[in-house]
Symmetry: C2
């Protein structure tokens, strides 16, 4: 699998569009060392000044939750945030790895206690995203444990091979020129975003099994896709893979109920299955789930904006993840398989200047999937006109 | 080996004397995760506020040296030092792991280029040692690769078992109460230090095969052993194991030549064999070695004090490391097997107030072994009286 790891490392550095002389901050989990080394090699070959790797260790978090004082679980040393803000101050590049490594590291712990410890999430991360100071890219890192989780019906080695085959396809590494293939796909996504921007919908309605949700948009809510540009003008692909077109809702105007169509895996590895959320006046007033609802409830209580929406994203059926029919237990992949919404912080550049103060603000940003072939997406204009936007995963205009 | 790892974790937290409510900074290398988890468990059980682990990855350093721009190798992001100073500002605890993990990680790289990249060493570390803000402990972490390096004549599994057996003995884990055993040994070392302090030697002469070196002492050079006390009064054992009695030399009065009696392993894993150094007026004016002399020369050129001595330490034959006759390629163990000197920074509390400004200052502190059964140590008083201090590893007074 070494060729796959090397290729993902190259794509990550390409996605972040690392510039000569930049610091590159890498966020990984122990067990993902091979991809760290591939990224470091590609980065230094491209002229990186310094590759600064932070390894998150979920077993240390486990020790804290099991033996520490729950009253202190909100504490993080100030230098964690200072490092993140420092990457912003120096206009550095960032690469983060998703992908499951230790699916059972936090098994059996009290989800409510787990929710009090934010790590590896940092509340300063939205700052450096919003001020567009860093050029960044998130990629998913293969790991044998991940293969076993995703394909439990196969013997472990085959499960990992199957995962790697899927990832090669998802990363478009089976194309003659994967970078060109990404340019083409991002181009198509941007065209869909532009078509949505022309319509200037006042709200979007999601209808499907267990879901009847109306999401208001701000007057200048802006649909975008695929690439960002830093304040210094560095274009970058913040996610590889990316298959989504997204915007920011009006945090005051979300009403109805929604049922998640895929398991939600929190950054600390907690898996929430069968999630159902009811919204009233923008707030998530009821959060239920078949498993671990408490972990999400705790996060949604962490600040004022944590129970409101910060993102609405539509994913068409032309992406490569949805058709595989695989549940990856990894938000980066699963969110690009299906349309989704996110609780918590909105990207500041998802709306125009006039509405920026109305965007949702929070220390969290948690995506969960609501898309399925049965989901119908309807746009509602200010005049009350209803326009079918997506049906069976296909754009309708 | 799990019991050994757990026991070392307990000893490390005992050595650092972690206080309730303290942050604990842990410095480890990838591959040492098991001991990190043992330390984290013991620390949280004892009331730690937060265990902050930094994993050093030598393969990322390898990528830098192999592919990066040599002109930039002196650069470290400012938040590396800020984290260390932050641990001091918050009067935190620190635990660091030595022990070989990846003996070949940096093989084949230019030692001079390697010397330009200080990591994992931080120039801010001497600050938090000198201001006595942190209570800290360094321990050696077992690893199968280390076993293979130390006992290449054995099959790998046996080599690791042999290393673990040696470590159990060295850590005094074969005593009924290892903590009490350490208290007793530290008591004996402190008695030797007090005897040396009573004599008030003006200089110490080292004589042995390839060594004829006279090391001047400052009027208030102070011999100490085994335990430190923080500015807040927290007693701690900075090294486990510890078998040494040490002081700071006069950095202007070192003359003669010295031959290292064991391989010197730099923090980045570079091994310097057959080291010979000639001093004139305190400065190392000639540095030669059978292997990798350049790596040391580069470090000694890194600042004004880097070519002068900051420590002289005497190790008697009652310690548990020397009698094993094993070369561990690990300074923490090897320095406690034999008398040694260190290039670079002196501990500020190794001399009285009056002489503190005369102590050697540097961003480096590199110990190398000069002790052997053949080494004779002689004390010279201001009046010129010569007193035999140590012969065949035994105190002579």
């Amino acid at each position: 699998m070494d060729d796959l790891i090397e290729a993902i490392g190259e794509l990550a550095v390409h996605g972040a569009n690392l510039q000569t002389g930049q610091i590159l901050g890498v966020q990984a989990t122990i067990g993902q060392e091979d991809l760290v080394h591939a990224v470091a090699g590609a980065a230094y070959e491209r002229g990186a000044l310094f590759v600064d790797v932070f390894y998150y260790d979920p077993f240390v978090k486990r020790k804290r939750i099991a033996h520490g004082d729950p009253e202190t679980f909100g504490f993080v040393p100030p230098w964690y945030g200072e490092r993140m803000l420092g990457l912003g101050d120096t206009d550095s590049a960032r690469i983060g790895f998703s992908g499951v490594v230790w699916p059972h590291a936090l098994d059996g712990l009290d989800p409510q206690l787990l929710g009090r410890d934010q790590l590896p999430w940092l509340k300063e991360t939205p700052n450096v995203i919003d001020d567009r100071s860093t050029n960044w890219c998130g990629v998913a890192c293969p790991h044998p444990h991940w293969g076993e989780l995703v394909h439990p019906e196969l013997p472990p080695e085959e499960a990992y091979e199957r995962l790697c085959d899927e990832l090669r396809h998802i990363y478009r590494l089976d194309e003659p020129d994967p970078k060109a293939a990404w340019d083409e796909r991002v181009g198509a996504l941007k065209a869909s975003a532009e078509a949505l921007n022309e319509r200037r919908f006042d709200a979007i309605q999601l209808s499907g099994p267990g879901t009847e949700l109306t999401i208001g948009l701000l007057p200048t809510s802006f649909w975008q896709a695929g690439d960002f540009v830093t304040r210094k003008g560095v274009r970058h692909l913040p996610n590889i893979p990316t298959e989504e077109v997204f915007t920011a809702p009006d945090p005051e105007r979300v009403n109805g109920h929604v049922t998640s169509t895929k398991p939600l895996v929190l950054r600390d590895g907690t898996i929430i299955r069968g999630l159902r959320v009811r919204f009233e006046g923008g707030r998530a007033v009821e959060i239920d789930a078949d498993e671990n609802a408490d972990a999400l409830r705790t996060r949604c209580a962490s600040d004022e904006g944590a129970s409101r929406l910060g993102e609405l994203a539509l994913v068409d059926r032309e992406g490569r993840i949805g058709p595989l029919g695989t549940v990856f237990y990894d938000t980066l992949l699963d969110e690009n398989a299906a349309s989704h919404i996110a609780l918590g912080n909105a990207y500041a550049f998802s709306a125009g200047e006039d509405d920026r103060d109305r965007l949702n603000r929070s220390g969290i940003h948690i995506d969960f999937m609501v898309g399925s072939p049965e989901l119908e997406v309807t746009g509602i204009t200010l005049a009350g006109e209803r326009v079918l936007v997506m049906k069976a995963g296909a754009w309708q205009f």
